[in-house]
């Protein structure tokens, strides 16, 4: 099939950027969207033009590196799928496809479709360490975790940090990402000692990075390739409120007189 692509081209972070139209000819429907872009890039290189820059890594839907807004929907709108797992059979011959990068103040565009997601790393760093026992292997079931809690923590841990939630949110809010990370550790006994500190610090880092606030539109969970639920945002709100009410622990001498 033949497609018309409207692709965002931007030389670097300081250039304004614009849309460029390309023809993608003889696209095979079994190609992934990124493979289709690879073919277009081969043509561009053959013509001596600058290829389109875009992020990708594992190309099997688990690393969270690919980040394209296709026809106004991050990851292209096929439920529970990243762009690398989006196949060309989802499109039809003669279609015009608009391809844009994630757009958010906290995710500055570096080049074309590549944006800088360091803000997410800063939030993770603000979360700090998790106390984990070292030494010999603990006995099985020495630390009981209810199955429902373990499953829920895994649902949160499924977040691959791609930033589609930020990209689709009308407020460019990172709440779903932060909610997934805070919930994952708050649900497990290993994360308990730092529970309050983590919620406070991660929310502070999120606000400082310049993300917007949550308006509970639910747009994020709909595009999330790992289908992280909006109910984790309610949990984050609860964790943050709980941490605020508990306040800073009072310093004591620890029995040293």
């Amino acid at each position: 099939m033949n497609l018309t692509l409207k692709v965002w081209r931007q030389k670097n972070a300081n250039n304004p950027g614009h849309f460029e139209t390309y023809q993608a000819r003889d696209v095979i429907e079994d190609m992934s969207f990124l493979e289709m872009l690879d073919v277009v890039n081969e043509d561009l290189i053959a013509q001596g033009q600058e290829p389109i820059a875009f992020d990708s890594d594992c190309r099997e839907g688990i690393c969270g590196t690919c980040s394209l807004v296709i026809n106004g929907i991050p990851h292209g709108g096929h439920k529970g799928t990243t762009v690398c797992q989006l196949h060309m059979r989802r499109f039809h011959d003669g279609q015009t496809i608009t391809v844009e990068p994630w757009r958010a103040r906290a995710f500055p565009i570096l080049r074309d479709l590549v944006c800088d997601r360091t803000a997410f790393d800063k939030i993770i760093q603000a979360g700090g360490f998790v106390s984990v026992n070292t030494g010999g292997t603990p006995d099985a079931n020495a630390l009981p975790v209810p199955k429902t809690d373990a499953d829920l923590a895994m649902d949160a841990a499924a977040c691959i940090g791609c930033g589609a939630c930020v990209a689709t949110c009308k407020n460019a809010s990172a709440m779903l990402f932060v909610a997934a990370k805070v919930s994952q550790l708050a649900l497990l006994p290993q994360g308990k000692p730092e529970r309050e500190r983590r919620a406070l610090n991660m929310v502070r880092a999120m606000d400082e990075a310049g993300f917007g606030a949550c308006t509970v539109t639910g747009a994020c969970e709909a595009v999330c390739p790992k289908e992280v639920s909006l109910s984790f945002i309610a949990r984050l709100n609860r964790e943050f409120g709980r941490a605020l009410l508990k306040g800073e622990p009072k310093k004591s001498s620890g029995g040293a007189g």
């Binding site: 026809n71 106004g72 757009r103 103040r105 407020n171 929310v203 310049g210 993300f211 606030a213 984050l236």
Partner: protein, 253 residues
Amino acid sequence: MNLWTQVWRSSLGKKYVMAVSGFVLLLFVVGHLAGNLQIFLPPHYLNHYAAFLQSNLEVIWPVRLVLLALLVLHIVAAVQLEVENKAARPTSYAQKEPGAASFASRSMLLSGLMIGAFVVYHLLHYTAVVQAVNFTGVDFAKLVDPATGHRDVYAMTVYGFSKLPVSAFYLLAMGLLCLHLSHGTQSMFQSLGWKNSYYSPLIAKAAWVLAVVLFLGYSSIPVGVLLGHGQDYLKQIESKVAVTQFPAGKEIK
């Protein structure tokens, strides 16, 4: 940092403020409707209720001030969040699908500000009784129920809603309120974290039911008046006014 500063400075905290203030304002909206629906009872019910409120100034003024403060807090938090939200995406998309975001959720600020403008009009109309905004030619301040010695709220309401454009504006405002609450009522549970998979579907449904019930309840008053409810009472008081204030034989308008 004290608790209030921490709450107000964080985006999550500001949503707590919006949720709590919104909840109290919602309680007022429910209570106000319950009081107003007495218009469908004989006139002395509504007028005695109004007289009760107006004669207990030490109760009514603190309530008014608290509601006003919460309304201001709700609006200030909303506008500040909107400014931050807009700043979070300086360059917009060339093409953008709203996806799962409902119309109500995307238009909260607009519907909210329009309701705010309506509240100003409503207070001028029936509370401050500014004659210029009621468009009926009747001075509401002079409508006094002889039985209570306080304002004749029944007559004022019937006069007020007899004007079609005024009633139409009220219906529009109530439609916006319904839209605002259909999203707001479920959002406040989300923002405070009082939600889980067990009862969140119930919250979503209950928010819609409440919004529609409030819309129908409030709309029934202007619609009822336009359909002729209360006109016989107006005739009755107009004839009394004619007897006491005008010499026999003179027509009044």
